[in-house]
């Protein structure tokens, strides 16, 4: 039986959101100015007219919205002047996501996202506001109302994940625009004030290295802190709801989100370990779901943090159909191959030492700063060398009904599991040293929006060709 749902009135705010900084805030500022100073500018009148027109259009668009849940299809109608009607087969849905921020909670509304493999990358295909009761009814109609098994993850585990996956760069990406926008809105240079304060604090710390090192370190620590708290509040209250065919992930503190998807919609499963996770012997399990998420990647966290045994148990329980099979392929475990794995770290190390020596001779007054940068670079290269050894010892590929690969990706160790039909491309790369040694690099790319890929190095070329022929029936 079909049922029609209307948008929650709060959707008007979502529709006028793009005009927030160019129209809404100036109008509010102008109105406040009128009450404080008793002055009205000609521009304010114009802005008020534009504001009213945009709000009216948004209200009419909101009123025209319809979500119709049928037996096998979902129909979304929207638009006043430019009308659109989209019909999606429920079987083709990748995931649905509900998100509730504090304002939504007050008005008992949620942001509802419907994701498919089509649509623009990095944003939901359909995003709208529904009332809380309607959103529950829609989810029930799409994914059934079986009693799921709930798996809770403690705050400690989420904090471990937040601490081990956060980075200073992410913190800067999140923090800098907020500081800039807040400064502009408040009408004073917030970024300058903050930088002066950082300079003030860092100048009080005495060390062998120059003050700039303290300033940079402090900035990085602050950015890491921002990233940590962002990640912590994003994933706090993490719960996983298991059903026979479906999975639902719930998380969030200020903004609560729920993501539901069918296990069959999972493109690949990734078990990864960041450098900090490696220190604490923890792993995280993530899945790539077609079209999922409003971020750049389409990965959903399934297990935020756990020991290896725990993660493996969860994997075999949630995704038994992805168990690896087929012949195991790995690089030769001899000293010659080990040296090949260590070629790039050695080259980088020599380059850094030579460059830092030359720079210290030319810029003698900056020798302490150069020493600091060299130490940091050498530490990074040593970790890179350590990962190359890991790749040499544990790098492997299995091609069968399912594809399994274990290797290093950036500074993380990574395991990828996916069904053979989800593989979009297998690339065999051979450079000059590979030809006489009959080896190759294998790059497996998953056919998905974000095209997850994994590279396993120095595998036997003939064995790889044989495996591809057995698995896909393609003679290379």
């Amino acid at each position: 039986m079909k049922r029609e749902f209307r948008a929650h009135p709060l959707m008007i705010t979502r529709l006028i959101k793009p005009f927030l900084f160019v129209l809404i805030f100036p109008v509010i500022k102008g109105v406040l100015q009128y009450f404080i100073k008793g002055e009205v500018t000609g521009v304010l009148t114009l802005e008020l007219i534009a504001f009213m027109a945009i709000t009216l259009m948004a209200a009419l668009r909101c009123a025209s919205f319809r979500l119709i849940c049928g037996k096998n299809t979902v129909t979304i109608r929207m638009g006043l002047i430019f009308k659109t009607k989209s019909v999606i087969s429920i079987a083709k849905l990748s995931s649905v996501q509900t998100e509730q921020n504090p304002i939504d909670a007050v008005f008992r509304a949620v942001t509802y996202r419907i994701n498919t493999e089509a649509g623009p990358k990095g944003s939901a295909d359909f995003e709208f506001k529904l009332s809380l009761s309607d959103s529950k009814e829609v989810s029930r109609r799409l994914y059934g109302d079986k009693k799921p098994t709930a798996v809770k993850f403690s705050v400690f585990k989420v904090a471990v994940m937040a601490a081990t996956t956060s980075s200073a760069v992410t913190g800067m990406i999140i923090g800098v625009p907020i500081i800039n926008k807040a400064g502009k809105l408040l009408g004073f240079a917030l970024d300058k004030m903050l930088f002066d304060e950082i300079n003030n604090v860092s100048s009080k710390v005495q060390s062998y290295f120059p003050p700039i090192v303290n300033t940079i370190t402090l900035i990085f620590l602050l950015a890491y802190g921002v990233s940590f708290f962002y990640s912590l509040f994003k994933y706090i209250n993490f719960k996983l709801f298991l059903e026979e065919d479906n999975l639902e992930v719930r998380a969030g503190f200020f903004i609560r989100s729920r993501t539901s998807f069918k296990k069959k919609s999972v493109k690949d499963v990734i078990i990864d370990q960041t450098p900090l996770m490696r220190l604490f012997k923890r792993y995280a399990m993530k899945v790539s779901v077609g079209g999922y998420g409003n971020s750049k990647s389409e990965r959903a966290v399934i297990v935020p943090s756990g020991r290896r045994g725990e993660i493996k148990r969860c994997f075999s329980m949630y995704f038994p159909f992805l168990a690896p099979d087929g012949k195991l392929l790995h690089a030769k475990r001899d000293n010659r191959t080990k040296r090949r794995f260590l070629f790039w770290p050695t080259l980088w190390f020599i380059a850094v030492i030579v460059l830092s020596s030359v720079l210290s001779l030319i810029f003698k007054s900056f020798s302490r700063l150069i020493l600091f940068l060299t130490v940091v670079a050498c530490c990074v290269i040593m970790y890179y060398a350590y990962l190359c050894i890991f790749e040499f010892r544990f790098g492997k590929l299995k091609m069968g009904k399912n594809i399994f690969a274990q290797t290093v990706k950036g500074f993380n160790t990574c395991e990828l599991y996916c069904p053979m039909e989800n593989v979009g491309q297998i690339k065999l790369i051979r450079n000059i040293p590979d030809v006489p040694r009959k080896t190759c690099k294998v790059v497996v790319t998953v056919c998905s929006e974000s095209a997850d890929s994994i590279k396993v190095r120095h595998l036997n070329y003939d064995e790889v060709k044989k495996s591809i022929a057995e698995c896909y029936g393609v003679e290379v």
Binding site: K83, T84, S86, I88
Partner: protein
């Protein structure tokens, strides 16, 4: 929609749309005629090109549209100078979307977009009733 081709109304709709845009461009060019008479010559060239495009190319382009539904796929043939064939298997089709502007709605027409992962096919406006029929048909085929 007869014989899997677009109706004549679609050509009229696009002639109105492109004609209006061309007319605005022509008026703008002619408005600068006071600078030099060469601008008017440019305007004349644009007018001729617009006329050729509207009354020769557009009808042929829309006439070349052929929409076929062989077993398990949508096939769309189009093109005057460059012939293009677009094939989308039903298994890859994720959802269908219809789109109507006020003018198209007045003429009883609607466009259809077929979305697949990383690709989409847009079929220009045809009868709104046919669009609804095709959306239902594609939704059923997609489920199969």
């Amino acid at each position: 929609m007869k014989e899997n081709q677009l109706p004549k109304k679609t050509v009229t709709l696009w002639q109105i749309r492109i004609g209006l845009i061309g007319l605005i461009l022509l008026i703008l060019v002619c408005a600068f005629g006071f600078l030099t008479r060469w601008v008017l010559l440019g305007g004349a060239v644009i007018a001729v090109m617009l006329a050729v495009f509207l009354f020769w190319y557009l009808p042929r382009y829309f006439k070349s549209y052929e929409i076929l539904f062989p077993k398990g796929a949508v096939v769309i043939n189009r093109g005057v100078f460059i012939k293009t064939t677009h094939i989308m298997p039903f298994s890859r089709l994720v959802y269908a979307q219809s789109f109507a502007t006020p003018l198209a709605k007045k003429m009883g027409l609607s466009a259809l977009a077929l979305k697949a992962a990383r690709s989409s096919i847009i079929i220009p406006e045809f009868d709104a009733k046919d669009v609804d029929y095709y959306i239902d048909f594609l939704a059923k085929e997609g489920e199969a």
